[in-house]
Symmetry: C2
Subunit: 366 residues, 2 copies
């Protein structure tokens, strides 16, 4: 199986928002469908913190992608009609230049010498790719979770580069509850002695910090309501329990553990720290003299679909309402969809039926 | 200043619900007001996981207590009328026998040889104290947070021992979201190498695990809504920031840090683990063939006040509704008060005005 990833070499040096620059950097991306002659059928997807560019299976890589149910021929994001691009965020370790990459100046991994990363850098890198494909204006820019914040940055920094926008389970700025959660995730990693100031290796690796960070993530990505129905107070069978004091006893505990095991050692801890902090830093109000609404008013697009879910504790529905209000105030025709999916923030990855209806309906009407 | 604490020696051996027993164990308690001749004006308070028996200042200890605003002459729990007792939970290290106490059989601290602790044990120890004071029936049993679960255990195990009940921000059973949070707190402690299987000392102490556990606690004890108003995205002054990679930058981060610093080394880690797990284990449905409602129906009291708050993510309002329904189905006259205090689970410690009105009103009408 050949690698489905393609790579876009960023202009070198690539200047970062908060100072510093990258030399010889690249981002990984995948595509589905075909760009039409007018080059006006492109849809760009910006992802959450951890997914790769492999949003769905394709000829080069038939494995299921992270948004498999949403993307493909005849699906909500219909690749018979749209030329779909998904990028791996700059700073993520799924093929893009990140803190684990070699710094060409030293031949060693950047680690903490990687420059400060912001979501605007993620957006600028993606915009460079889109331009390089000869696309002047995206038919639609889709951003999920962290990618929704990157998308707002993309639109505010690159006027007229986007015709329509779909905002999924995201926020116009990081609020203190989300900052507190992410700060604690970062602390679990950096206080793990095996993080070692970013100088870990395969032998000495911050497994415990990453595991705690991931579990805390999963707790905030889902919802109490879902878990009441799914796990209730079901115990593990005695042979599944941990043979340790205070070891796992309830199903919900082994669910978290299996999520953590799938994550640890598959995501670079320093990259996680950089992307996590970039999320905390994001604030569209920076572009509106401290006002979220004024910041959003700089975004000029024709139409938008803004989706959120009432059970999301990390990106609460009020924040999607703010995005919808701001884009409308800026002149866009906005559809706002508030779902009651029980799955919390992750509903966009799970409740494919409702998200498909909203996203598929919006795109079909374009 | 003399110690305000009094001690009640538990019958020896004191049998524990899940097996094992304690020898020579005691619980610490404090009292306010005077027991009347009929011995029918006693109010017992069962606490959350971490508070001591020092609910309010008194002649022996004028320092502020954890419920200072609620308890005293002329206050909601009026000590001119009521003889108020607050106990430190069995297993807590604020004067009661706990895993840090010396095992008389060995002369060494129990640590993990302490028997399994359940909230029913906490309840039974408190009930023993009440009986020893010559009180056949409490005028009112008040339980806050974890103490609310202990109180349900108290009433189901000791019929006719309670006339009325006030249930504050609690639950009839631990649900998976709360279990997940507490499991992760315990994991942060037990995966801290300095926990050392419970064999820590002052030199080698699980500061990091306890700090992470406490911060996660504070995050779930408060609410996103409160923090939006209180912290928003306010940065620390440069001189307040940590001189470390990914160090604290936002006010909400230093707020969590100061909470953690006040907690670490003031609460025994093993005691924390035992009490935390006891909370996960609690399930009133055990007394009702798997049904919460049937379990609650075994509780025979005259009246109850059940209070919860809509912003509580750890003990959601639906769980207080269950308690209210169950007690009503059992024949009690029940007042249910759903508050909109922004402070989340901790509202009972902060929103003294609204909790005073509800609790003071209920007690005044008895």
């Amino acid at each position: 199986m050949s690698d489905a990833r393609q790579y876009f070499n960023l202009p070198s040096p690539f200047a970062m928002k908060r100072g510093g620059s990258l030399h010889g950097a690249r981002i990984a991306y995948e595509t589905w469908g075909s760009l039409n002659a007018a080059r006006d059928n492109a849809v760009l997807i910006l992802t959450g913190l951890s997914p790769s560019a492999h949003a769905a299976s394709n000829a080069h890589d038939p494995s299921h992608g992270w948004w498999e149910g949403m993307l493909g021929p005849g699906k909500a994001i219909d690749t018979n009609r749209w030329f779909v691009i998904c990028v791996n965020s700059l700073g993520s370790d799924k093929g893009s230049t990140c803190p684990a990459s070699l710094d060409p100046a030293t031949g060693e991994p950047y680690r903490l010498s990687f420059p400060d990363l912001s979501l605007e850098d993620v957006a600028n890198a993606a915009h460079g790719l889109v331009k390089s494909l000869g696309i002047e204006q995206l038919a639609c820019l889709i951003g999920c979770s962290m990618g929704g914040m990157s998308a707002l940055g993309y639109m505010v920094l690159h006027p007229n580069s986007v015709r329509t926008h779909i905002s999924v389970d995201t926020a116009p700025q990081a609020q203190p509850f989300a900052i507190a959660i992410r700060s604690l995730q970062r602390e679990a990693i950096r206080l793990d002695a095996d993080w070692n100031g970013g100088q870990y290796d395969d032998e000495r690796y911050p497994d415990i910090g990453m595991s705690i960070a991931r579990k805390l993530g999963v707790i905030t990505y889902r919802s109490a309501m879902e878990w009441n129905g799914r796990f209730a107070r079901i115990r593990l069978d005695p042979e599944q329990r941990e043979e340790q004091p205070f070891g796992f006893e309830f199903q919900v505990e082994s669910y978290l553990e299996s999520h953590a095991r799938r994550f640890v050692r598959t995501f670079d801890p320093n990259s996680y720290l950089y992307l996590s902090r970039a999320s905390d830093w994001f604030d569209i109000a920076e572009y509106g003299n401290g006002s979220v609404l004024e910041g959003l008013k700089h975004i000029r697009i024709e139409q938008a679909l803004v989706i959120g879910v009432s059970t999301d504790i990390l990106f609460p529905l009020e924040q999607q309402e703010q995005i919808a209000e701001g884009l409308e105030a800026a002149g866009a025709k906005v559809e706002f969809v508030a779902l009651d999916s029980p799955q919390g923030h992750d509903a966009f990855l799970v409740d494919i039926e409702n998200y498909s209806r909203a996203i598929g309906g919006f795109l079909a009407r374009l």
